[in-house]
Subunit: 338 residues, 2 copies
């Protein structure tokens, strides 16, 4: 009898999606995007998503406080709202916590949940609390609204592929943490630690861009750029061509890659939990989108490639050859995917 | 440093509720009721709640299949919608499953989630999947609607206290299961096993009663009648007097209590996960409510007591004395509460 490890996360999700009959009336988008989209009869569509994080799998309390673990989990959940071009309303949180956890650590965890929610305009309004056997687990439910939600399926040949910010820092932080954790305290690596414990969901960028109407398709980089791009390619029925030399990296990521003697481009393409947005934008509208972002005091979009006819995702080197990804993104049941 | 076990579930929730500033605009009810209530601008209010279940804590796979474990968890989540007088729209589910779980067991689990959702008009529309360390955990998010949601805080002196059905079966099932599990296969105990693996969320009763406008306050019996009644008493600022002799029990529960030489009234008052509704109903409207239920082919309400001035909950014996509850309901962090 095969185990989940062999079936894999995406094989499993496919099988589960096939169990579900039709979506109910009013539900415009169910399994298969960053949020479910529901028409509730008001002027905006309701967005809802859940995002779970497990101690020792998604976060390690030797590397961060319970507050930071919660902060990063809530940011990741809110990123799903940003990926739909939405604005958040509130969150609910189920916390499974071992009974032997010190009260202070448990209350700091919930303070991280509630505080991060409030910080991004999404107060905690409910949830559930259960006693876990061994490890902390958080499941964060985010609710939000969007007038015209961005779907993964809207990319069309001719669109530009853009990112809201640099990718690779989360992987760089992880690599340094596994090798020489003390290094992360040095100032040049501070951005890496921030990306790990306090990543920014791109809600402000989403709000500015949603008002412009230039975005055709969107996803947040949570499993790794290559893998997340593959979801967009499949949902839209197009091919995404990404120029490796255009991938935005920070100085901290390059320093870390040098230190580790590893290849930064791979990090940029495979690093998950970055929470930048990957967008397909109307070809002629990038300058206008950037004007609006600038006016709001936000960083401009970085063009990283194009949407073309075909299927799949290509990472293209300056010489025109395709980069093969030895290690792709993350599969929860298989571990790192081949 | 104190641990969560000493702080207790309700102490913990109180501290967390205090962390949250105000509720956001449109949120009419946050932490402290069965569902959060949100005004989304449409004709009905949006209801949302989460309900988590952990293997070995909420269910034991030696006693039931993964399908049944999921079925019971989803029913419990939908019960929160019934407790608000609402009708469900859809559900999301986060499943944490160990990688070594056989694919069949994992897929049966999700089939239980999706199938039970569809059965009650709440298709699965999203969620998250993560690899658990050791035990399965399900976190079910239910979304629904209600025109005028029933709150815990609406009970007024003079109201009648009623139940939608018998209580005690869940405790009876648990006691038999711990003592002589084979007994549950005998036909006279079949209702106990059903209550354990396939409890009925009272959605049909809620729909009929919501149309009558007779219900003032509501909660579902999930932690134990006494404890759940205490939540209503506190939220409404009233005292609930329950006549022990009026508590509806089934033959199967009485047989089990005889077999165990235990006191069935205690089971009725402390048994959790029953998923019957405890309602405060306008005093003169019980007959009319029952007429509507009968017309819909549903069982009548059982009057179990009264709402009076004061505070707390009293379990009153036929001789007028108050029954002390040696063991109350369930506290996740303390275990059974004193």
């Amino acid at each position: 009898m095969s185990s989940l490890m062999e079936l894999g996360e995406f094989g499993f999700i496919q099988r589960v999606a096939a169990m579900v009959g039709g979506t109910p009336e009013g539900v415009e988008c169910g399994i298969g995007d960053d949020c479910a989209v529901i028409d509730v009869g008001g002027p905006e569509k309701l967005l809802i998503a859940t995002d779970a994080a497990l101690e020792s799998r998604h976060f390690d309390l030797e590397w961060m406080t319970t507050f930071e673990a919660a902060q990063r989990t809530v940011a990741g959940a809110l990123s799903d709202i940003a990926a739909m071009g939405g604005h958040p309303l509130a969150l609910l949180c189920t916390a499974a916590i071992p009974r032997t956890t010190p009260s202070d650590a448990a209350l700091n965890l919930m303070s991280g949940v509630a505080g991060t929610g409030t910080r991004y305009g999404a107060p905690l309004i409910g949830g559930d609390t259960v006693a876990a056997a061994e490890h902390i687990m958080l499941d964060v439910v985010v609710i939000g609204f969007a007038k015209r939600p961005w779907l993964r399926s809207g990319a069309r040949p001719g669109d530009r592929l853009v990112l809201t910010g640099p990718v690779g820092e989360a992987q760089a932080a992880l690599q340094i943490m596994l090798t020489n954790p003390d290094l992360l305290r040095e100032p040049q690596y501070a951005p890496l630690r921030k990306r790990m414990v306090d990543p920014t969901p791109r809600l402000r960028e989403a709000a500015v861009l949603a008002a412009t109407d230039h975005v055709r398709a969107a996803i947040d980089v949570s499993d790794g750029l290559y893998q997340d791009a593959s979801h967009v390619a499949r949902a839209s029925g197009v091919r995404l061509e990404i120029e490796v030399r255009c991938l935005p990296e920070t100085v901290a990521t390059r320093l870390a890659a040098d230190y580790m003697r590893d290849k930064a481009p791979w990090w940029a393409a495979a690093s998950g939990e970055e929470y930048e947005l990957l967008l397909a934008v109307d070809r002629d509208s990038v300058p206008d989108a950037n004007r609006h972002l600038k006016k709001a005091g936000l960083n401009p979009l970085t063009v990283i490639g194009d949407v073309v006819h075909g299927e799949g995702v290509a990472l293209i080197r300056p010489d025109g050859s395709e980069m093969e990804l030895e290690r792709g993104g993350w599969d929860h049941f298989k571990g790192v995917q081949g």
